[in-house]
């Protein structure tokens, strides 16, 4: 494996073609292959099950042609015995195999799974990103998606649960398909309930409907029939108002669900890990990543069906659990990375290497990359130019290192995508090659080139040349930058004493880090105090009491109630926060902060709320049922109205918990009095994941569900004698239904009070979104981090979510925070401002304008000086200085002027 240079000769020479699993069976690979071009590790392997040599005892073509003698046919499976402190199970899922749906014609080439469709859309897929159908490679004009294939289905399979991701990916696939094929592409999604209950998910759904024109058809399709004499497929379906309709599509995508594979179940059995509902690992909402076996944790889809951000969150939570369990052994087995030496190139003439990326067809499909590369060769200081299919690929990094050494390059320009996403990757390569990582520049010829000038290839090519010329001119003026190490205050500040805040505090404290827990109110518990039970019926109060007790008794946790943050100074590893604790000023030094300030329940201003004591919010109903309130006990009929204040034009998000909460309460009412008439008026029932069981049970117990539209909301009238009248238009009957419930429950939204969040956000320099929820660094991959280092988010402050997700997220935030606290020092320096004292006249304009107080005036010298530890590298001082005595390293005046000159020289 060490000898393989991933040249691909083995795959080229291998005579055996095999169905490619990576392309979901749509393409072919060889028996000697690499899984995908960006694979890590980037090593070719031989598929023993299909290799001709292993079948027939001869061939060995790959071995013969391999330039590095990396092929070893004698390699055997080897057994390893590892001694570990804990195990984290992240085995993932298998996409449901729709072959068992005998009426869906899955054997037809143009009936494909969503995974196959992903590969068709992908530029690294079987058709290089051209949207064509498998049968005749023609561009489809009409595509249908069928939802809930292998989900919410106990007839064809045993998957009663909702897979929780298919609605989102289907909308995404339809929207991207339209991007590929143009607005004329007809896309239809057949669904039962549209389940988009995550952060910003509903906005995407609404956009797909309104702007992209994706059709959404509420119907479960019975069968897909091939249309004789064509490659098309006919779908017959019943509309909501009962009409039978048929439509013909060129391609049908089955939105297959997620399920746990046999292998995983066998592994679980071997490990003694209990399996629960839906064949997912059994866990409790209060310990969402703890399996039935001590020391074994679970995350991702094996825990329950979920999307990427939740998987990432749980992964961090599982890491936190392991870290807590193994805290006494921290750093006992880790190895230090080797110190990389850096070549001194400061005095050398620039020898710039330029790497021009094709990004598959992303760039090369528009920009003439060959012309750009040829042009780069003519630029002053350029010593080497090459083009890469994917400059970011691991093999290109290895090659780049080699080239830097072979050609003695001392500056690198990559013309590709955005430095915001890829600068760090290439800088690491420079470091590996012994170059100071700042001797690097990117020319953004994709996001700000090929992608925005798709119809102007010539102009895009000219622009790319200009951008490369600017980058080369800038990097030639770049000098190596030094960095320094700053200490880390190994303690945390957790803001908010609800379930999320307390969980984060305990998780860090259990790892030995001191924590200050700040709560605005005079008691801990937050929103959790109002919760009756988790969705699966476990009482919250005993858990909360225990949690509060543990927090208050923990020697590493200082609880400050009636406390408010008034000022935050410093930066990752070195925060200094001022608090007002019941009128007293208090100061805390801490290395990290977790924001878990929670959210609020909306007090509705519609549906007669406040006009009758028989109109409840779910949280009030929880309490009333618990207390066997007279109004509940005597009620003969109950109505729930969903989406109160959620999914409205001015609050365009789903509050995620209300469907389950209402159905939970509907079931409790039914259990209290099985004869009670219980109605749930809803827009989409969003009982994602295993919560679907609740929905199933509710229907089985006779809870009636009536759907309404935003345009036809129910009308509530409170008569003078206090009777309630609810009128709603039934979509099946197509006429208004009048209900006269004894109790009415409104499923109100979860909202942020923006002023509160805003104030905190400003002090910690973190953003909030349009709805006032804190905005994480990356929606998928950094769900609990902020762009600002050392600050993390958990709980409702991030987005409405149920208890188990709050707990997982809090543990995740603690895990991410611990990655800072585990370090002894943090690197500073690099892009900071410096004063050329020869030019400084001591006017102190810079001292005034620095937002961070990082510049001091040295009385004795009459000059100014920058404190590099405090400097954040904005460069505001550099623009203020009348004599340009201050410059921002990496963005110096000379470099800016050079870029301007080059930009305008063409």
């Amino acid at each position: 494996m060490d000898k393989c240079i991933a040249c691909g000769t083995c795959a080229e020479k291998c005579p055996r073609k095999v169905t490619d699993e990576y392309n979901a069976g749509l393409g072919k690979r060889k028996a000697a292959y690499v899984k995908f071009p960006q694979a890590v590790p980037l090593k070719y392997v031989i598929d023993k099950d299909h290799c001709i040599y292993f079948e027939k005892g001869k061939c060995r073509a790959c071995e013969k042609f391999c330039p590095t003698q990396a092929v070893n046919f004698d390699d055997q499976d080897r057994e390893f015995t590892l001694e570990v402190g804990s195990v984290i199970l992240a085995p993932g899922f298998e996409p449901f195999d729709p072959g068992v749906y005998d009426t869906y014609s899955y054997s037809h080439p143009n009936v494909i799974t969503s995974m196959e469709f992903e590969r068709i859309l992908s530029s690294s897929g079987p058709f290089e990103g051209h949207l064509v159908r498998p049968s005749d490679h023609q561009e489809p004009k009409k595509i249908a998606w069928l939802q809930c294939v292998g989900s919410r289905d106990i007839h064809h399979c045993d998957n009663g649960y909702c897979s929780g991701v298919c609605c989102m990916y289907a909308i995404k696939e339809a929207a991207i398909a339209k991007e590929h094929a143009g607005a004329d592409l007809n896309t239809a999604i057949f669904f039962m309930d549209m389940r988009t209950p995550g952060k910003d998910f509903d906005k995407y759904y609404e956009r797909a409907k309104a702007e992209k024109g994706v059709r959404f058809i509420r119907s479960r399709v019975h069968s897909i029939e091939p249309l004789p004499g064509t490659d098309d497929l006919a779908i017959q379906y019943v509309t909501e108002d009962g009409r039978i309709t048929e439509e013909v599509f060129n391609l049908v995508v089955l939105s297959v669900g997620l399920q746990i594979s046999k292998d995983t179940l066998e592994l679980a059995e071997k490990l003694g890990v209990e399996i629960g509902d839906g064949r997912f690992a059994a866990t409790s909402p209060f310990q969402p990543v703890q399996t039935s076996r001590t020391g074994i944790y679970v995350c991702g889809v094996f825990q329950s069906p979920k999307d990427i951000p939740l998987s990432v969150m749980e992964a961090s939570a599982a890491a936190a659990e392991s870290a807590t369990l193994l805290a006494p052994a921290r750093n006992s087995l880790t190895r230090k990375p080797p110190e990389l030496s850096e070549k001194d190139v400061a005095a050398q003439e620039p020898r710039v290497g330029v790497f021009v990326c094709h990004c598959g067809v992303n760039i090369a499909g528009v920009v003439d990359v060959e012309a750009v590369a040829d042009y780069a060769e003519t630029l002053p200081g350029v010593a080497y130019v090459e083009r890469n299919l994917f400059t970011c690929a691991q093999d290109t990094q290895d090659k780049m290192k080699q080239i830097i050494e072979e050609h003695n390059l001392n500056r690198i320009v990559v013309a590709a995508c955005s430095p915001r996403t890829h600068e760090a990757l290439f800088q690491e390569t420079l470091k590996q090659a012994g170059l100071n990582k700042y001797l690097f520049e990117m020319a953004n010829i994709r996001n700000q080139g090929s992608w925005v000038h798709m119809n102007e290839p010539e102009a895009a090519t000219e622009k790319a040349k200009d951008l490369v010329r600017m980058a080369v001119a800038k990097v030639a003026l770049q000098q190596p930058l030094g960095e320094m190490q700053l200490g880390v205050t190994k303690s945390a500040l957790v803001v908010g004493g609800g379930i999320a805040g307390m969980t984060a505090a305990l998780t860090l404290a259990d790892q030995g880090y001191p924590v200050t827990l700040v709560e605005r109110k005079d008691v801990l518990g937050g929103h959790g105090r109002k919760l009756y039970s988790t969705w699966d019926g476990q009482p919250v109060a005993p858990f909360l009491d225990e949690l509060i007790k543990r927090v208050e008794a923990h020697p590493e946790i200082t609880v400050l109630t009636k406390a408010r943050i008034t000022d935050v100074q410093g930066f990752v590893g070195n925060f200094h926060t001022v608090l007002d604790v019941d009128g007293q000023r208090r100061e805390v030094d801490h290395g990290v902060a977790v924001i878990a300030v929670g959210a609020h329940s909306l007090k509705p201003d519609e549906y007669g709320y406040g006009k009758s004591d028989r109109i409840f919010l779910n949280l009030d109903l929880d309490q009333a049922i618990g207390e066997r309130d007279e109004r509940i006990v005597t009620a003969r009929s109950a109505v729930f109205i969903q989406c109160v204040g959620s999914r409205e034009p001015d609050r365009p998000y789903c509050s995620r918990v209300c469907c389950s909460h209402s159905i939970e309460n509907a079931l409790r009412l039914k259990k209290l009095n099985p004869d009670m008439d219980v109605y749930v008026l809803y827009r989409d029932i969003r009982t994602f994941g295993l919560r679907e069981n609740l929905y199933k049970e509710a229907r089985a117990r006779g809870v009636l569900f009536i759907r309404f539209d935003l345009e036809n909301k129910p009308v509530v009238q409170v008569a003078s004698d206090g009777t309630l009248k609810v009128t709603v238009k039934d979509h099946v009957l197509q006429r208004p239904v009048v209900l006269t419930p004894d109790i009415l429950t409104l499923a109100g939204a979860i909202v942020m009070r923006e002023s509160e969040a805003d104030e905190l956000a400003k002090m910690f320099k973190v953003p909030v979104n349009a709805e006032g929820f804190f905005l994480e660094a990356h929606a998928k991959l950094r769900p609990v981090d902020f762009a600002t280092d050392g600050v993390f988010v958990a709980g409702l402050a991030h987005y409405p979510k149920p208890t188990e997700e709050c707990i997982a997220q809090a543990k995740a935030a603690a895990s991410r925070a611990a990655t800072v606290l585990a370090k002894d020092s943090i690197t500073a320096g690099g892009v900071v401002a410096v004063v050329n004292k020869d030019l400084c006249c001591g006017c102190q304009g810079c001292v005034q304008c620095c937002p961070f107080g990082a510049i001091d005036y040295l009385e004795r010298e009459g000059k100014c000086e920058v404190n590099q530890a405090l400097c954040k590298g904005c460069g505001t001082c550099a623009a203020t200085c009348p004599s340009e005595a201050i410059t921002l390293l990496g963005f110096s005046h000379l470099q800016l002027y050079a870029q301007i000159d080059e930009a305008l020289s063409a």
Partner: protein, 66 residues
């Protein structure tokens, strides 16, 4: 109840086995490595990345999954 199943050893082993090299396994491994534990990350296929590496783009930001 909060820690009903945890019986922490005072002398544990400072390494963790992560089973599965998809996005969850990779994140768990990174966090643990960054907090001072040695990680064995095992993956059945020849490359890490799991299902996410097969996705074209991701919801709701349309970021490239790769």
């Amino acid at each position: 109840m909060v820690n009903a199943t945890r019986t922490a050893s005072s002398n544990p082993i400072g390494s963790v086995l992560v089973v599965g090299g998809g996005i969850a396994g990779v994140q768990a491994a990174l966090d643990l490595a960054d907090t001072g534990y040695f990680v064995h990350l095992i993956e059945k296929t020849s490359a890490i990345g799991g299902a996410m590496s097969m996705l074209d783009k991701t919801f709701p930001t349309d970021d490239c999954a790769m």
